[in-house]
């Protein structure tokens, strides 16, 4: 697939761009189209009631909106409603697995296998689990090109101690698209459960969780044009059914006695307390919006922007980019550094030109150490970005070099 310019021009759908910003930090959070904002506004104005309870029409309407969103989210991801659990975010989804599956199945002498390119949200829950259970946390290496090695995965699995493998689908720093279907298949063959962190993948490419075949797939709404406060965990039905609940409370029970309770069926068994109803409705609207554009078009658009960014940044003296050069295995993220200017100062000088980029460790401190840098600057894209945003970035970076006398 060669890079090609798409004619996607949807910026007018996003009210925030009235501010005239070149927003290049969608890997942190995406902007929201008007219809997401309006769906949530309309929910509160016209349909607000608690779900799964009241017998009155309004409560049924709220339930239909919320559960309707779940069905569309499930279909969008290649899953089904019963195995699509709403959480607060991807972090909570991963913690759910670490708590409800990990504590029952990972014990002393066992291993949990992750990679050096994980976000803190896919590191810390496993560190906590391993330290509590006397297990060992191991890391697959990242090559200079930003890639994982399936051979190394096979070698570690062959040692026979790995109980769970958790890998990011698309790296938020390097942009690497990992071969998650291959990884899940090899984990299963070795008797290990697999978890995929799809926070950066679901927003920018067609993802079919059934096809990938992992046991768990976690992602978050706010990076996929939806609101904050809602994430998703897709799980394999047999595992979800055999697991204990995560949090206890209302909505997750079938009946409660003085001494014990029986639990609700899927997916509500894992959704204690009143859900983020408006956020669920908002995420449903975001999915509808992305569906209408088509995820193939979204991916092609981000690929084109990544290609153009690598080309424009290549013109700047002393600038080095990180991550795979092959666009087939790279998503819409470009991390970089400029000789003689700290990323923090780059971000500040870009901001003066209305260009929003991220600087820092991107919640991936182990990867930063592996790359041998304290921090990087990062530009990341979504459907509303265009070549002009990238041009503004390139000019701002050239200006930063002038300020620093380079």
């Amino acid at each position: 697939m060669a890079p090609f310019a798409t004619s996607l021009d949807v910026r007018a759908d996003f009210p925030l761009f009235d501010r005239g910003l070149a927003y290049l930090d969608s890997a942190a959070t995406s902007q929201k189209p008007r219809e997401v904002i309006e769906a949530m506004d309309s929910y509160y104005r016209c349909s607000n009631a608690n779900v799964h309870r009241g017998v009155y029409k309004l409560a049924q309407e709220a339930t239909d909106l919320f559960e309707g969103a779940r069905e569309r989210v499930a279909r969008f991801a290649g899953s089904e409603a019963a195995t699509t659990i709403f959480t607060r975010n991807a972090t909570e989804a991963i913690n759910l697995v670490a708590y409800a599956w990990g504590r029952e199945h990972v014990g002393e002498g066992d291993e949990v296998l992750i990679t050096q390119m994980e976000h803190h949200s896919n590191i810390v829950p496993w560190q906590m689990l391993c330290s509590e259970r006397g297990a060992t946390l191991r890391y697959l290496h990242v090559s200079d090109e930003g890639l994982l090695s399936l051979e190394e995965l096979d070698e570690v699995l062959a040692e026979g101690r790995v109980k769970l493998v958790s890998v990011v689908h698309v790296s938020n720093v390097l942009g690497t698209v990992n071969p998650v279907a291959e990884i899940a298949a090899r984990a299963r063959a070795a008797g290990a459960v697999s978890v995929i962190d799809g926070s950066q993948a679901m927003p920018q490419m067609a993802v079919d969780v059934a096809e990938i075949g992992a046991d768990f797939y976690a992602w978050t709404g706010h990076k996929a044009l939806g609101p904050t406060g809602i994430g998703v965990l897709h799980g394999r039905r047999e595992l979800l059914e055999s697991m204990r609940p995560f949090l206890g409370g209302g909505d997750m029970i079938a009946s409660v006695g003085f001494d014990s309770s029986t639990y609700n069926e899927l997916p509500w068994k894992f959704e204690a307390g009143t859900s983020a109803i408006a956020e669920g409705v908002g995420l449903g609207a975001a999915i509808d919006y992305l569906d209408r554009i088509g995820m193939g078009t979204v991916r092609a658009h981000e690929r084109d922007l990544t290609h153009y960014t690598l080309e424009r940044l290549g013109e700047i003296d002393g600038l080095r980019t990180f991550g795979p050069g092959d666009l087939d295995v790279r998503g819409g993220v470009v991390s970089f550094e400029v000789d003689g200017i700290h990323p923090h100062d780059l971000a500040e000088l870009c901001d003066r030109e209305g260009v929003c980029i991220r600087s820092g460790h991107h919640c991936a401190q182990p990867l930063m150490r592996e790359l041998g840098v304290p921090a990087t600057a990062r530009a990341s894209f979504h459907v509303y970005n265009n070549h002009e945003d990238v041009d503004r970035l390139a000019e701002a970076l050239k200006g930063a070099r002038e300020v620093f006398g380079l």
Partner: protein, 126 residues
């Protein structure tokens, strides 16, 4: 001229004064800014209750490095017991530029580690 990246700030960033390590030293501390990963350590040699020699080391943005470099020139010769009473305004005034809330910790990191070395108080200066 840029309001933040003034010539003297960039000069201290590119050619930081009193940077490196000091062996032996009497006081030391090391810390980082969790927001951006900037890190800074300090070694101090004390003579007659005063800072005889001082070296910062670490890596960070222009503001954090220039702040350490500029502060080092003031700290050498200062009675150690006076360091505990230095506050955020002391550093910000020394820098001579207006610091936005997002860059405040960059500017204060050098005082944080110096106070930590002198008094054991590792809190952010206010």
């Amino acid at each position: 001229m840029d309001e933040l990246y003034r010539d003297y700030i960039l000069d201290h960033y590119k050619r930081p004064r009193n940077f490196g390590t000091l062996e032996p030293h009497d006081l030391e501390a090391h810390d980082h800014n969790p927001l951006c990963g900037d890190e800074l350590g300090v070694h101090i040699r004390v003579e007659d209750g005063k800072v005889a020699e001082l070296r910062f080391h670490g890596q960070g943005c222009a503001i954090s490095q220039a702040s350490a470099s500029i502060a080092s020139e003031e700290l050498i010769g200062m009675p150690v017991e006076q360091i505990g009473s230095l506050d955020a305004d002391w550093v910000v005034d020394l820098l001579g530029i207006s610091i936005s809330p997002t860059r405040r910790k960059c500017a204060l990191l050098s005082l944080k580690v110096t106070r930590g070395a002198a008094t054991g108080d590792a809190s952010w200066p206010e």
